[in-house]
Structure formats: C-alpha cells, structure tokens
Symmetry: C2
Subunit: 307 residues, 2 copies
Amino acid sequence: MSKTCIALDVGGTNIRAAIIDAQGKILQQHSYTAQLSQITGNQQEVEQQVIEHISANIEVLLGQGENIQHVGIGFPGFFDNQQGHLIASPNMPVIHNFDLSGQLSKKMNLTVSAQNDALCAAMGEFHYGVGQSSQSLMHITLGTGVGAGLVIQGQAYGGDRGMAMEFGHLRMAKTGDYCGCGNIACLETFASATAVLRRFNDHSQTSVRTAQEVYQLAKEGDALAKLILSEAGNYLGSAIAEASKLLDIKHISISGGLCGAWDMIYPYLRQSMEAALIPPMRNNIIVQQSSLGDDAGLLGAAALVNR
Amino acid sequence: MSKTCIALDVGGTNIRAAIIDAQGKILQQHSYTAQLSQITGNQQEVEQQVIEHISANIEVLLGQGENIQHVGIGFPGFFDNQQGHLIASPNMPVIHNFDLSGQLSKKMNLTVSAQNDALCAAMGEFHYGVGQSSQSLMHITLGTGVGAGLVIQGQAYGGDRGMAMEFGHLRMAKTGDYCGCGNIACLETFASATAVLRRFNDHSQTSVRTAQEVYQLAKEGDALAKLILSEAGNYLGSAIAEASKLLDIKHISISGGLCGAWDMIYPYLRQSMEAALIPPMRNNIIVQQSSLGDDAGLLGAAALVNR
C-alpha cells in the first residue's frame, strides 16, 4: 500500500492541501481561502462546516488519480493525547471535544490523523528538515503569534491535554502590551512578526505595513526599528533559555515571517540566551532557521501518516 | 528472582541506603555521613573514592541475609541518556563521564542502575506516592536549592544531556541575589528553604537558624517573615505557570523543608500561578505536597530497578 498521502495545513484564513510521497516530496498542492474562524452557528453546525471545508479540499486532490488511503491534518487547537479529539480551538470557541479525524475518516472512507498545527510544523522539520539528524527538536514559528512544537526522540509531545509548548505565552516582563490570551507582556507581544510591526507603528506613529518593512528601515539605520528588532531578539533568546533549562533540547529551529530579519535578531537572541543559561548548557545549543519554511506544517501533517 | 533491591539516595553530606521490596516498602535502612563534595584528588581518585563510599554502604545491607541482585542509585549530577554515565556533578567538578553504575556493577557483581537524584524523587512520587494514578508528574523539592524532576507517561525525562528540569534556575526577576549558578534572581534565590532563611536574616539583621523558625515568626505576625514567605510562594507559582505553559503537566507535587510553611506559601503560589497561566489551563492543575517526603528519592532509586 502506497504511503503517498494527502496533507492539510489548516490556518485561520487559508487551507493548504498537498499530495506528498513517503520521502516528503510535495507532488501537488493547492491553497484555498477559508475563514474558518468566521463560521457561525452552534457547536454541531460549526463542526459540520469545518468537515465540509476540509473534505472539499481532500476531494480535489483525490480526483488527481493517485490511489491515496491516508490523510494527515494540522489544525489549530488542543488535541487529546488519548483519542485524538480536538478538545478546543481558541479561534473557534464553540468547538468542543470534536472527533475531527474520526468524522472525516467515516465520511471519506480514508485513514485520517490530525494534530495541532504548531506540533505538525515541528514534526515536519524533525523528519524532513533541519532536525533529521537530531534526537529531539524544538521548533518555533514567528508569525501572527509565536507558536512552538516539541519532538522528543521522534515523538510529538502534546502534554497531558494537548496544550504543551504555549511558548509564545511565556511571560517576559512585568509590564508591556496586553496579549490575546489576556495576560501582559507575553513573548508574542514582543517577538512575533505582528508585534514587531505593531510596536514600530505605535512608537513611531507611522503606518508601515509589514515586519519586513520594519527590517528594511532598520537596515537603513532607523534607530527605533533597530531597537524593536533587538528587543524581539533579546526576549526570544531569554525565552529559549528558560525553555532549555526545563527541556534540555539542544537543537532549536525557527521559521515564520520574522526570520526575514534574522541577521538583526539572531545576535541579540544568542547573547541573551547564553547569559540566561546555566553554565553547563552554554555554547552547546544549536539555534537555526528552519529549512522547510512555510512547508513545515504540511510535511509534518504527512509525517503523522508516515510515522 | 526477587525484585527486592537496595536503593541509595546520595546527597552532598549524607548517603541513605535501604532495602526496598517490589511494592515500595522500606524493609531496612541506614544513613551514613559522607562529605562526597570534600573528596580531593584527580578525576580517577575522586571517582574511585565515590565507588568505595557507595559500595561500603551496599555491603552493609547485603550482609542482612536477603538475596539481592539489584541496586538503584540516585546521585546529584547529569546522566547521559544513552549509556547512563554521570557526565558531570556540579559539586564534584573533577568527575567527568563517569560510569558509576558500570563500575559498581563490575566490582560487586550486581545489576546497578543510577539516575539524577531529583529525577529519582519524581519517579518515587510517581510510582509510590501521590502520582500513582497520574499519567505524568512534575515533582519539586524546596530544600537547600530548588530541584525538580519530570516523569512523562511513566518515563523519567532527562532531556538531551540529562540536564532537564533545572527548574530552580528559572529566572524570576531582573534584579535580586546572585545564585550559585552565577546568574541573578533564579527561583532558588527566593523559594528554597535556604533562601527564605538567608533573606530573613539579611533583611532583619538577625540570626534565625532555620526556615522553620521564619515560619514560626510569620505565624506570630512578623511582617517581614510573612512577606518573605509570600514572595517564595509568589515566585514559585509564577515558575510553575511558566513550566506548565511549556510542559502541560497537570499534576505537581512538592516536598522539602519549605513545605513546613505550606499554609503560608500555598495561597500565594496558587494565586500567582493561576494569574500567569493561559485561560484554558486555569483551575485545572493539581499542586499538592508529596506523600513520601524525604523517602521519595530512595523509593525512586528502587523504581529504577523495578520499572
């Protein structure tokens, strides 16, 4: 039986779907706009519409002629580690204990596996990207928020309730901006692409449109842009040090929009990380950009099937 | 073959040794003063003397008539997760990549397992204490320092290099006292029994002799003693929240000298922990005193043999 599969990376505004072979090669892919977080209705209605959106995407690829039996899905939310149910999805609050993979499997007569999207990205990087020769990997995404996933000895680590690696909500300071979670000064209020953009515009009272533009301004010598990127690096390094003191993972990969400013972030990240580590951990942690970039989530969804 | 074993809990000033049956019952025990950190010499000499101290303790118990084949040892330091060697031991800096269990095994013709002492305590609490019905457990000891160990789905978690769960070195503030690790304001500079005592004496310019006396003063209404204990609770709660956001472990047990002040620490711990968690984690983490107290390490060393 072929292990070529269909993989989906479900985001808040976009569903990406691909046919991927057992070696992690993307054979075909398409992207589909779907404002899942805008779906209204009661629990059953919302869950039904999510199934409709996802199955429509699978159908398109099934029509391409390959004899595909397996589907892997990365989806934003907390997955139960016993039954694989989606316990909750922060941007779709009515969803509760949703058997996403079971319902899709029944509807489509396929084997379906689903897991948290950030954890899928970590699995993708571990099996097909920079983590291929590592025993364990922590993977961080600096995008709209700051997401992270942990692979320990090849196994996706979800914690007791699928809520592990809420790395973007580590508390970095006593004061700062409010975070979407309701707390103040979470890492993602400093070190996401969104935060860098918002902080620059707030402090400069301008309307730059992307974090990449903030980076360009920093390259041209803008002191505020440089400060905001250095702070993103500093806080990210401190947060990695705190995570390292608990997890002792010696390989860390980073992807997401803010990696476009890597040369202005990394030196600060490294310096603040090393300073906060315990001495025997120093100069012994690899922190690098991911090699898969935006494909990590898709490939990790495929890894759910192939591992 | 009987799984009754000999277990050792090796500390900086004391070695505890016991005969323990497969159900975790301590049949016999003795305690032996040994200033291991005071041993001088080159690497080979120090390692040889450690072997001598430990084997002498094992011999005493072997002479008690039981037919014992297995020994489990909890020892302070970082253990390699592949070969089980003691990579380093902070208080015995000349030790390096020491095959403690292999050398003892050869010398005594017994099966010997060794693991980090804090991780043994977590294994003891998980298998024989309050963690018996949990899937995973984080165990914290508030003593001379702040130690911690993590058991995930019944498995001792050591990280890539045996350095996981350096929980006492999470950085809690920008300013504070220097920690033994060289950093400033680590959790253990606020929330160990030693720190509570030191902080009280420093600020009151008195010479109270134990953390328990600080607790007594707090009970009698001493404002400084109350503040220092409340700060220990606050920082401990914040640190548990940060660890929870990464690990998502819903059962946490605490032992060690500072538990004697539980009623003055726990309310602050709980409040600061809940405030710093992400909303879906709130009111859903059990934090309790351990049931094994000082025996957790010994029983965890026995669990190395029995699991």
